[in-house]
Subunit: 221 residues, 2 copies
DNA sequence: CCTTGTGAAGTAATTCACAGCC
DNA sequence: GGCTGTGAATTACTTCACAAGG
């Protein structure tokens, strides 16, 4: 699944690398030169053995008795994740969510820049959004080609999501982050990650005590 | 981990139940009376054996040769997920993301209602947001008690996230959906799910071809 | 027939526990 | 002494393959 040229890293590890990356950014900003697997585990909310195993998959950069060099590890992880460069992204859908994502701080130092927000609604086209201006979806091909965009973010209503994905695939996008509660049908060479907020809440609800009080509690007279 | 009174269901299955639930809602709306494991698997983007195994964990409701009764299965899954009722939720943080979440359609028929959006910024308090009005964070305890809220959504900047979580825990919230890129420190009886958009993008970037062209392609003169 | 439900087999991920190195 | 790196053990998850029921 991973592009050739890199040793294969388990998917479970890949999913945690961004977390370590985030923690290491914080450590670097605090000026910490090294970190032990135990400390990093605490920060990331996992256990130390897992951290060591995860990090061992792409070479051993730790020093026994000392720990890992924060700056070095950061470079290694960024490189493994392909975020030792900037990835331009486009957002399709300039509704509430799309707009929020477009102005979302916190992509920048983690490898991503939103280079365009598009919509089909003429009422939204031309509206300013942070440093960008909403563009018509017909500009997608030109924008993607010009900026070398590989990643698209789908933030349209569910009924329009497949159509949006088709357009993205058509113009050469190979990764899609999908916020619509829909399973997108895309070619094999295109990867999709879904973020469905209701799904997350339902998983929380599963673990909630079913007998939890609920609904307005009227103060009995 | 799951509340007593229900057979233990593997975590991997729990994570897929919401997906099946969503697909079944669509099937019901289309008027489909039954669905086979194969069809449901297609809709959910998983394989049929997995669907059958997952569904077998909370009783066998299928009919051999026919499939599963859509309406019945929907009830069973909703019940297993604890969403055969409505869960009131509060959102802390009325910035771009919090506002988008507050007005987000698609919670309602999946078991959740946003009953309040709070912020500490006096400039935001009082602002209308859909059918709600932004309230001051000091109103949290009263709101949670009155509406019987068990689930809180953290949509504040990272630096304020732990503080927001502390407040939520303080007033009795037991589930937190955290959009801040921070590992929250909460008591054992409180569960947290993290949604970090940069993490999702980084996982996509990992699988992207590192040699992918990137950045503005200037038309050579 | 078709489709479920499930043991058994296979695969992946986690955790243990300790040797080896600083 | 402290901490990494890793085989081995464990646990969890997935997939196969088929018997049994409608």
């Amino acid at each position: 699944m991973a592009p050739s040229g890199r040793a294969s890293i388990p998917e479970a590890t890949v999913a945690r690398l961004p977390l370590y990356h985030r923690c290491l950014l914080d450590l670097r900003d605090e000026g910490r030169p090294t970190v032990s697997s135990e400390q990093l585990a605490d920060l990331a909310g996992v256990n130390a053995a897992k951290v060591r195993k995860d990090l061992s998959h792409f070479g051993s950069y730790g020093t026994r008795g000392v720990g890992y060099d924060v700056a070095h590890l950061l470079v290694e992880i960024a490189s493994a994740l392909n975020v030792d460069r900037d990835w331009p992204c486009v957002i399709v859908g300039a509704g509430n969510l799309g707009s929020a994502l477009a102005t979302f701080a916190g992509f920048t130092n983690r490898g991503f820049t939103v280079v365009g927000v598009l919509d089909v609604d003429p009422a939204k086209v031309g509206r300013p959004l942070g440093s960008l201006t909403v563009r018509h979806q017909d500009d997608l091909a030109e924008l993607v080609a010009r900026e070398g965009v590989a990643i698209g973010i789908v933030a349209v209503p569910p009924v329009a999501a497949q159509e949006a994905a088709d357009r993205l695939v058509e113009v050469g996008i190979t990764s899609i982050l999908n916020f619509a509660p829909t399973v997108l049908d895309v070619p094999d060479h295109v990867q999709v990650r879904d973020v469905d907020l209701a799904v997350e809440l339902q998983i929380l609800a599963f673990h909630e005590d079913p007998s939890r009080r609920v609904g307005p509690t009227r103060t009995a007279g």
